[in-house]
Symmetry: C2
Subunit: 213 residues, 2 copies
DNA sequence: TAGATTGTTAATCGATTAACAATC
DNA sequence: TAGATTGTTAATCGATTAACAATC
């Protein structure tokens, strides 16, 4: 596929996937872009445009086969593969993520959790022993680590990120409240909880108006 | 202020705020849009356009006073006020958020945490006793609750959201993996962790190309 | 077949970038 | 004052929406 897909489209894919999953659960086998657009509060045009970035999954006069489309999007999102993740930082956020079973159901497997705190190192969380972060390099050599979950305090984030890149890990899910500079071939996905809360605070106040999503 | 500000602009504000805070920490007192744009990897034009949605904070020939601009954005984001939050769902995510001290530093105070599980109700987390979610209505009458943090499983999210709206809470920070329908006067800010991870998975694979942020 | 609905091209809308006069 | 840099208008770019021929 030649043409680059815009990030706006990509970010809508998980939402399509979620709605199609719900339709499947409800036993609905086909849906038109119009009906889906009513459900999702987007335009039918946008749905068709979005999907046609990846292929022709519909049929004139019929619409889309729900299961087929669901599977297509699953595959586009890369959810047919499995991923090995390590959690860096065994604090509350790291633990919370490790305990969230949904991720494993979708093929994101946590194979290691690391920390610097000697009081935490050696303890077990959900059957996984917390390792010393100094052993991360060795661990990455012995295991195939796809994604590092950065759940460390802001102060340590930069150094640990540098290590992660050095050890050859290609995906970073960043929960530390910092900007991580772009590195060639490394994908960073940020979850800035503080930013999200600030956006909520902004909308909460009426001093300035804003355009609704 | 008349003209509506686009969501794209609003979502950039926390990032400006973060960078200006860093500049302040570094003792930098003034900055031009050009210099800031180099640091932030955006265009100087965009910075000036964004800021001018809210006022004229700069000075020709000089640039922007860092502290002044920092304070302006703080005020625009509504961070001069304090907010009372309740956490609904005392699972790992709820606990992780409650333990994240940064939020309190910025004026987001957790005044209650609720759950349905009798084994958790009554226990204390960070000095706060977990209450029965059935007591939420009473609690909202006796306390001024601004924001409810929805950290419950997907299955319960809809009902609890309905209650939250009914009790008159005007802000919802939604961590449940569901769509919450729009209600008049209620602000919902979603944190869809699963979506974020899927986006990472997409980018991680090279089968389709994409435009970088 | 006739009706429905796609895939796709064209039109519109909005957001980003460029340019520059105003002015500190 | 001269240089720097803003605020703002105009130009460009991209994304969303509308329209419709193709076709199941």
């Amino acid at each position: 596929m030649d043409k680059k897909v815009s990030l706006a489209v990509i970010k809508r894919l998980p939402r399509y996937y979620r709605f199609l999953g719900d339709l499947l659960d409800d036993g609905i086998t086909r849906i038109s872009s119009k009906d889906l657009s009513d459900k999702m509060n987007v335009t039918a045009s946008q749905i068709r445009q979005d999907l046609n970035n990846f292929g022709c999954f519909g049929q004139q006069g019929y619409g889309y086969n729900v299961e087929l489309l669901f599977e297509e999007i699953k595959s586009i999102l890369g959810l047919n593969k499995t991923y090995n993740l390590v959690i860096l930082g065994a604090g509350k956020i790291g633990q919370a993520l490790l305990n969230y079973v949904k991720f494993e159901k979708r093929g994101f497997n946590f194979i290691g959790i690391f920390d610097v705190d000697p009081n935490i190192i050696g303890t077990k969380i959900r059957g996984l022993e917390v390792k010393n972060i100094k052993d991360l390099e060795k661990f990455t050599k012995e295991n195939n680590v796809d994604i590092a979950v950065l759940a460390v305090p802001k102060a340590n984030a930069y150094d640990i990120y540098k290590n992660v890149v050095e050890y050859g890990i290609k995906g970073v899910w960043n929960f530390s409240n910092t900007e991580l500079e772009k590195e060639d071939g490394v994908i960073v996905e940020n979850v800035h909880l503080t930013d999200s809360l600030m956006t909520l605070a902004y909308k909460f106040n009426t001093s300035y108006d804003f355009i609704e999503e």
